[in-house]
């Protein structure tokens, strides 16, 4: 005991193997980190954390534009569960998201594989062409497809006419508006998965292909055994991100059909917009939004799990 009195606190910690730094030590050591993160934290608090929390609270009130509202318990959720249009738009949103996400994924991987076979210069320029829809304003994408499919002036009906056929009206009727929305959305965003896949394919070490070729693997075999395993994580990343973003998609469907004819192609995002800013019922709109939030946050959880596996994040 007498010996220990001569030691400093650090020496004692070291002696007994409890030299790990405490939380306060780490905070003291890393104050620069906090200094750097504070602006971001303030921005996130003011414009994400607080509004999101305020919105969730709002769903238990009857708040509307300019009115804070009173606490009304679960009435908004009761309203939601008895609302036919909500269930209709929920179902159609699921179909829309499922359809667009998987076609975007499929077209993206094919585009990336094809581009990878081209020589460098051609790859760049053809790549620019093929990726170009992704960079246009989503609202313009809606206008472009509205014009492209227009019964009187559109390209597709004119093409049908060339072969002596009459085109169906793509933005009206029972069936075609759904297809048009999915195709137009696929057009706008498939390049996202093409970009991610292209980056993943380029990063595959060529030795792995050479080794596979030396051991006699054919083209298909090499694709299956070398390429595919490297595409697993990108696939999960694309699926979860695009799922969340397709749920959130507003501008392009809004410009193309605006949820019409009538309420036939009403997506949840457009319904949320209409209830919030046309009917100015903020509380109910956010309640509808909660359904979207639950869906996209499930995708986000999968995404976080996927990027945990790999350190070079695709974010």
């Amino acid at each position: 005991m007498a010996q220990e009195q001569g030691r400093t606190a650090d020496q004692i910690r070291e002696r007994y193997g409890i030299g790990e730094r405490t939380l306060t030590d780490r905070i003291k050591d890393n104050w620069v980190g906090y200094l750097f993160i504070i602006p971001t934290f303030i921005a996130f608090t003011g414009l994400f954390y607080f509004p999101i929390a305020r919105g969730v609270f709002m769903t238990f009130t009857n708040a509307s534009l300019g009115v804070t509202g009173e606490f009304i318990g679960l009435d908004n959720y009761a309203w939601l569960l008895t609302n036919d249009l909500f269930f209709y738009s929920f179902g159609w949103t699921i179909v829309f998201v499922f359809g667009t996400t998987f076609t975007q994924l499929g077209l993206g991987v094919v585009a990336a594989l094809l581009l990878n076979e081209l020589r460098e210069v051609a790859k760049d320029w053809v790549g620019v062409l093929i990726m170009s829809p992704y960079f246009s304003a989503p609202l313009a994408g809606g206008v472009i497809w509205m014009w492209f499919l227009d019964s009187n002036f559109g390209f597709v009906p004119k093409l049908f006419g060339l072969f002596g056929l009459t085109a169906p009206s793509f933005l009206a009727g029972d069936f075609w508006p759904f297809v048009s929305l999915i195709v137009a959305q696929t057009w706008h965003d498939y390049a996202y998965s093409a970009i991610i896949y292209a980056a993943a394919i380029v990063s595959i070490p060529s030795e792995q292909y050479e080794a596979a070729a030396l051991s006699g693997a054919g083209r298909l075999r090499r694709f299956r055994d070398v390429t595919l395993p490297h595409l697993l994580i990108p696939t999960i990343v694309i699926l979860s991100l695009r799922t969340a973003w397709n749920i959130a998609e507003f501008s392009q469907p809004f410009a193309l059909t605006g949820g019409g004819p009538g309420t036939q192609t009403m997506l949840m995002s457009i319904l949320t917009y209409r209830v919030a800013f046309v009917n100015t019922n903020f509380a109910r709109a956010y309640t509808i939004g909660m359904a979207m939030v639950v869906l996209s946050m499930s995708a986000a959880v999968i995404y976080v799990k996927a990027i945990d596996q790999e350190d070079d994040l695709y974010v």
Binding site: L115, S132, Y192
Partner: protein, 279 residues
């Protein structure tokens, strides 16, 4: 008979051409309309490639007929403001996420991931309420603030990826040994090295803000603060006799800058181009 390599090549080119057509023909159709006379634009007799009837008048009419100089000016102002503000927040934030270690970093990072996947239309509701109380609705500063939140997460992603991979760690270690502290090492060494990445992030932020429709649409009703995207929406919805060629010319002017700039910068940005929902 084609030999296998030739057949593969033919398939490859067929696939590439199919993709290129799918991507470009919708663009071609508005481009075609935008250089026709107003009569030819709506005439059923106009061909697919009406070489005889071309005119650039719609591009002049865009500036004369509608308030497009104002709309494009607003687009540039808000995109520029949003770029500056979001970079001011994103540069230190991204550096902290990529390089510095502090308790709570992981948790913050994950909430940042969630924000990038949050449906924006839902977020507009409480933000509108806040802006309403702060009298920011229908003002350019309000739009700038809203758009800078919109581009902030993507800026953080782009830059943290660069800080993580593009700057060797021993550069900062060397700077620390030379007597810099973390702050001056960042300001004097890391920041100058990051200029190209920051430039790319700025371009990307500018064009994303330029493309944005949702925030401006929700936050404005006055014509004086409309941006070009929102103006095109309102012109489409208005009852006036539509001059399709002029309208399509304005769409071309709206779409061309991002497509051209992204195209030119694609090879430099690489996979960082992920971006965020068009919303």
């Amino acid at each position: 008979m084609l030999n296998p390599t030739k057949r593969d090549r033919a398939l490859l080119y067929a696939g590439i051409i199919a993709f290129a057509l799918f991507a470009v023909v919708p663009y071609y159709w508005i481009l075609r309309t935008s250089i026709l006379t107003n009569f030819a634009a709506i005439s059923p007799d106009t061909g697919f490639l009406p070489l005889g009837e071309l005119t650039l008048d719609p591009y002049f009419a865009v500036w004369a007929d509608f308030a497009f100089p104002l709309y494009f000016r607003n687009s540039i102002i808000v995109a520029f403001g949003a770029t500056l503000i979001s970079l001011f927040f994103a540069i230190p934030g991204a550096y902290a996420f990529a390089r510095l270690d502090f308790p709570g970093r992981q948790a913050l990072f994950y909430t940042a991931v969630f924000t990038i996947m949050f449906p924006w239309i839902v977020l507009t509701i409480p933000v509108y309420e806040v802006f309403y109380f702060l009298n920011l609705v229908n003002t350019l500063p309000g739009i700038v603030i809203a758009l800078s939140i919109f581009v902030l997460p993507q800026n953080i992603w782009l830059l943290q990826g660069f800080f993580r991979q593009g700057i060797p760690e021993n550069i900062e270690e060397a700077a620390l040994i030379d007597g810099h502290n973390e702050l001056t090492a960042f300001m004097r060494i890391v920041l100058p090295l990051s200029a190209p990445a920051i430039g790319a992030a700025a371009l990307f932020a500018f064009l994303t803000a330029w493309n944005n429709f949702l925030w401006v649409f929700v936050l404005t009703s006055d014509e004086g603060v409309r941006t070009a995207t929102v103006a095109i929406h309102y012109i489409l919805g208005s009852d006036v006799l539509r001059e399709w060629n002029t309208l399509m010319a304005s769409v071309v002017l709206l779409v061309a800058p991002p497509v051209i700039f992204y195209g030119l910068s694609r090879r430099y940005l690489g996979e960082g181009l992920g971006g965020s929902p068009g919303g």
